[in-house]
């Protein structure tokens, strides 16, 4: 029974000690933390009893709305510096809606493509995650329109790969899983193959933040995202990216509710209308630099 430590053990032990010493204190600031656009909302809403009466019994009893959200979609929904709180334009907007109903919001980060399923199964009461309203989604769930977004292409500064959205054949394009931009790219790729050219390679990432990172690192030649996200990423990367062309295919975002909750969907639309008439709706949007996406009517399944 030799008591002597073998060199390998001594090495790993010292590595462990170094690690523990490092862990001694946690810090909450990063030297290169990017400046996040948008300030905390200053306006708070008062409860409207007529709206509160329309809350589904389950939410009324719980006193909170459980919201599924994919917190990788800055600036609409993303994790704050503490790694826990979900922040963003959608968050501020829906928090204001919940205040109108007089209830709290429980933001639950989820994978984007699992949210509609989660709303359907009752895991979340509502899904707020920059969902573009389209016929397929409307068939499955109720959607309340609240914002107008289009698709925006982005490339590295100066477009070194000379990407042309209308002729992206043979290129690698970054896009997030489960988004409408995938259908867009698939259609463009089909056009390429029909014309006898190389198809477009989709680099599909689980999170939009990874798509942006792929573009910066050069893994993708260009990316497609919803206009607020694309424009924000361009701003966020400090001049590494630029917009390519203009926003197209404008379509409304919708808050997702189960098919059974049409009355509640109607009440949410009313709450949004009331936020609009007080001016707080536009104020929230401009906080996040998204004024251009404002809509004037809030409708269920438009």
């Amino acid at each position: 029974m030799a008591r002597r430590l073998s060199p390998a053990i001594a090495f790993t032990a010292s590595a462990a000690i170094v690690g523990l010493a490092l862990a001694g204190c946690g810090s909450s600031s990063l030297s290169s933390s990017p400046g996040t656009a948008g300030s905390t909302p200053t306006v708070s809403q008062t409860k409207e009893t007529s709206l509160a009466a329309k809350l589904p019994a389950k939410i009324k009893a719980a006193g909170k709305i459980v919201v599924g959200t994919d917190a990788t979609y800055a600036p609409n929904e993303f994790l704050g510096d503490d790694g826990k709180t979900v922040k963003g334009m959608d968050v501020d907007l829906f928090n204001a809606v919940a205040q109108k109903f007089g209830v709290e919001v429980d933001w639950v980060p989820a994978n984007f493509d699992s949210i509609i399923l989660g709303v359907d199964s009752g895991k979340y009461d509502v899904g707020v995650s920059s969902f573009t309203i389209n016929p397929d989604r409307k068939k499955q769930v109720n959607m309340v329109s609240y914002f107008n977004a289009g698709t925006q292409w982005a490339v590295l500064k100066g477009n070194p790969k000379k990407v042309d959205p209308d002729n992206a054949c043979g290129l690698s394009i970054g896009v997030q899983k489960g988004t409408i931009q995938i259908d867009d790219l698939t259609a463009r790729s089909k056009k390429c193959t029909d014309a006898g050219k190389k198809p477009i390679t989709q680099i599909v990432e689980q999170a939009q933040s990874k798509v942006t990172a792929d573009l910066v690192s050069g893994k993708a030649d260009a990316m497609l995202a919803d206009s607020p996200i694309g424009l924000y990423a361009i701003k966020q990367t400090g001049g590494q990216l630029e917009a390519l062309g203009t926003t197209y295919d404008a379509a409304p975002y919708g808050i997702v509710l189960p098919k059974s909750e049409t009355a509640f969907a109607q009440a949410i639309a009313e709450a949004l209308t009331s936020l609009d008439s007080s001016g707080d709706y536009k104020k929230t949007l401009s906080n996040w630099g998204n004024d251009s996406g404002a809509v004037s009517t809030f409708a269920v399944n438009p």
């Binding site: 032990a13 590595a15 462990a16 990788t72 790694g83 826990k84 639950v108 989660g118 199964s121 933040s209």
Partner: protein, 316 residues
Amino acid sequence: MSASTSVERPGLIEARPVRHPWRWVALALIAIVVAMMLSSFITNKRWDWGFALQVMNQTPVLEGLWKGTIIGTVGAMIIGVSLGIVIAIMRLSENPVLKWVAFAYTWFFRAIPRYVLLAILGSGVGYLYSTLDVGVPFGQQLASALGLSSNLTFLTLNVNALSNSIIAGIVGLGLSEAAYMAEIARAGILSVDKGQAEAAQALGMSSGKTMRRIVLPQAMRVIVPPTGNEAIAMVKDTSLLIAIPIIAELFYQTSAIGVRTLKIMPGFVAATLWYLIICSILMVGQYYLERHFGRGFGQKKPKDRRFARGAGMGGA
């Protein structure tokens, strides 16, 4: 004998060590590669080591390390080891029902990838069963048929509320681990000579006592090394919790910082360094554990066994 004196003594042997010129060539090649790597570490600004160290020290990262990686590993291994031993004993039982249940369990959980299992637990189970009622079997149907006021349910668990907590992760990883641990424990139990159990029975011990007092302590020598191996693998598998998703987890938080700041590699480096540190600690612990349970078996170096996998363990 006298003849030997006349034989001439052999001259001095000019012994020289065998030359190994290729060793020097290999050394030179490796030195060049290492030098290239080191220089790229320093010259490629995208490595950004300072930033990686900062990421390692962020509060959310440390919280993820503690709540997701460490608590997740410990919890999953507790479920895995205890359930695994039960299943191994079931598998070796004479009772054909228990035997087949244990076999089916091992078959299912060894065949399903952990990532898929966790994704199912995260979104799928709550979709099928949004609440889990604990009560008398078929109590709700019985109660409505008999017109009882109570529905014979004692406890209702909200699956959806649990499915995004670390509990879902621990249960998922633990269930999967139990299948592997069952095989390890079975190999350990079978490694104990049958005569040991027979002798214990001859002394009047019950079969349960025989298992606890005689068989399992001896089986530990075979069970512990691969279990340590499994624990180390489990540390790394906690990174799969992203399938649920659980955000209070090391890899989720480091990559979140990586993509938020668009410094991807430092985020990965931070996670890698933490995994190296945790696994190093576990390897030290395993060295002593093996020495403890290997007592009386000569100077078998535990090193030789450390990376050997137990019988029937697939790729974990």
